[in-house]
């Protein structure tokens, strides 16, 4: 549970989901990873949302699938953005 986190390469993850509350951010990471969709929690970029301290970087090509999964698990998110790293 408390292992040191390795910095992963998430250059390829171009989508960012923003949330109202952190419970939902953490839960969505867990749910997506379980379904083999690449996802990585990041400090929420202020320029796209002032709401929650945590946002989720994910594989933007799977946007529609992700939307469906999040709704199914009662995860409330604010918005899905196209937000590449560079």
């Amino acid at each position: 549970m408390f292992k040191t986190k390795r910095v992963r390469d998430f250059q390829s993850l171009e989508g960012v989901i923003t949330f109202f509350g952190s419970h939902h951010a953490l839960r969505s990471e867990q749910i997506l990873k379980k379904r083999d969709i690449k996802a990585e929690l990041i400090p929420g970029p202020r320029e796209i949302s002032p709401n929650c301290g945590v946002a989720l970087r994910f594989d933007y090509s799977k946007k529609e699938k992700v939307k469906k999964i999040l709704d199914e698990f009662f995860v409330h998110y604010e918005d899905i953005h196209y937000y590449p790293v560079n």
Binding site: M1, F2, K5, F19, F20, G21, S22, H23, H24, A25, L26, R27, Q30, L41, I42, P43, G44, P50, N51, C52, G53, V54, A55, F73, F74, H76
Partner: protein, 398 residues
């Protein structure tokens, strides 16, 4: 290191004496050893503030809280874990549910077996114009649906019922009461402080809109933990408002779960321990724990029921009662019995009114109260036999 401040905790003295702990209905002891280990690990390696920042310590703390929330959700068969709110105990949860959901002019029905954590907030609201009806239970503490139905009015907003009495352990048929609430479209609040972890609870089956529970009783977690299940965020107003780590650009309270009710930094170290204890309880199986408590109940009741010097309250029936029995010895005051049990035999019980004057009036034991024995998953059959022997000795010696 020598401190100039002398602190005396007194734990060591307690450790030296052989003890029988029969006060699990107040708080359970001992706890699974792994609970302390998880809390220790959180203390040394975790320690961030959940939901406040995006750095890894904050995220790990957030995951710790999420983990406990999910375990509780699977224990109660709750589909959306975010509908569980952490509180410092069942009392705080009941206060959110009661004070937050009633307005002046509303009517509420409760029962005559309630704990003061339900009665006191209600009596406080009564001064502000909320009307209260108390449904009478039978002399064993059981609440009939008909007794509640009789008190219900058109303006009834809430029905608040304890799942099991903390005085007699009597388990209410909350499924039947829940069905009634669904039919009449009235909010249903269940006080599960005494049954969580020792009686199976399924919020869908019992149709609970609000369910308050403590973390340090049947769930075997650390003190300072508890929670409230809220079916919809618009059911109740929060008692406290403040920082949640969300909607930080706005000065009004978030309206979504669980942030609406969780202002300020959570007791994450306690919640980490609670998560481990819930995992332990799920692994052991609530049904199995109930079976264990019921077996001990049969032994306890069998040992004492034939002796006419003892008066037992409640049903005295396995599976219809939690591991709680209230007794009195004829001719002796409860406080005297409790004192001798502790001083002479090392048997720790709770005497008096158990924060439930209304319940003792129902049983006819007000204002002296009873001697309450409550056991748990770590209590052995021999402990029960030893306790009944001690009780017989006290009864004969008087």
């Amino acid at each position: 290191m020598v401190s100039k401040y002398f602190t005396h905790w007194g734990f060591e003295e307690i450790k030296l004496v052989k003890m029988y702990y029969f006060d699990n209905a107040a708080t359970s002891w001992p706890k699974p050893g792994s609970v302390m280990k998880v809390m220790q690990r959180y203390f040394f390696y975790g320690g961030g503030n959940p939901g406040r920042s995006g750095h890894r310590k904050a995220i790990e703390a957030g995951k710790t809280v999420l983990n406990t929330r999910q375990l509780l959700a699977s224990l109660f068969n709750i589909k959306d874990p975010s509908s569980i709110v952490f509180t410092k105990n069942a009392t705080e949860a009941l206060n959110i549910a009661i004070v937050g959901s009633l307005k002046p002019g509303d009517h509420v029905v409760t029962t005559s077996m309630e704990h003061n954590s339900v009665m006191r907030p209600l009596r406080h609201l009564e001064d502000g114009g909320v009307r209260i009806s108390v449904a009478k239970t039978d002399s064993k503490g059981r609440t009939a649906v008909r007794a509640i139905e009789r008190e219900v009015e058109d303006s009834t907003k809430l029905i608040a019922v304890t799942h099991a009495s903390n005085v007699t352990g009597t388990i209410n048929d909350i499924e039947a009461i829940g069905n009634f609430c669904r039919k009449r479209n009235i909010r249903f609040l269940v006080d599960a402080a005494q049954t969580v972890g020792v009686v199976p609870i399924d919020v869908e089956k019992i149709n609970a809109d609000l369910l308050a529970f403590s973390g340090h009783k049947g769930l075997l977690g650390p003190q300072g933990t508890g929670g409230l299940y809220v079916k919809n965020a618009d059911l109740s107003d929060p008692l406290m408002r403040g920082g949640t780590g969300s909607l930080s650009d706005r000065e009004d309270q978030p309206d979504f779960m669980p942030d609406r009710y969780e202002s300020g930094t959570l007791n994450v170290i306690g919640i980490a321990g609670l998560g481990e204890s819930v995992r332990w309880v799920i692994d052991r199986g609530v049904e199995r724990i109930m079976e264990h408590d019921s077996q001990l109940l049969e032994i306890f009741v069998n040992e004492l029921s034939e002796n006419e010097r003892f008066k037992l309250y409640g049903l005295g029936k396995a599976y219809e009662q939690t591991g709680v029995v209230s007794i009195n010895i004829k001719g002796l005051s409860p406080s005297r019995v409790g004192e001798v049990l502790d001083r002479k035999y090392g048997i720790l019980t709770r005497i008096g009114l158990h924060c439930a004057p209304q319940a003792h009036k129902t049983l006819g034991t007000f204002p002296d109260g009873t001697v309450r024995f409550s056991w748990g998953v770590f209590t052995k059959q021999k402990d029960i036999v030893d306790a009944t022997h001690a009780l017989r000795e006290i009864a004969e010696g008087s």
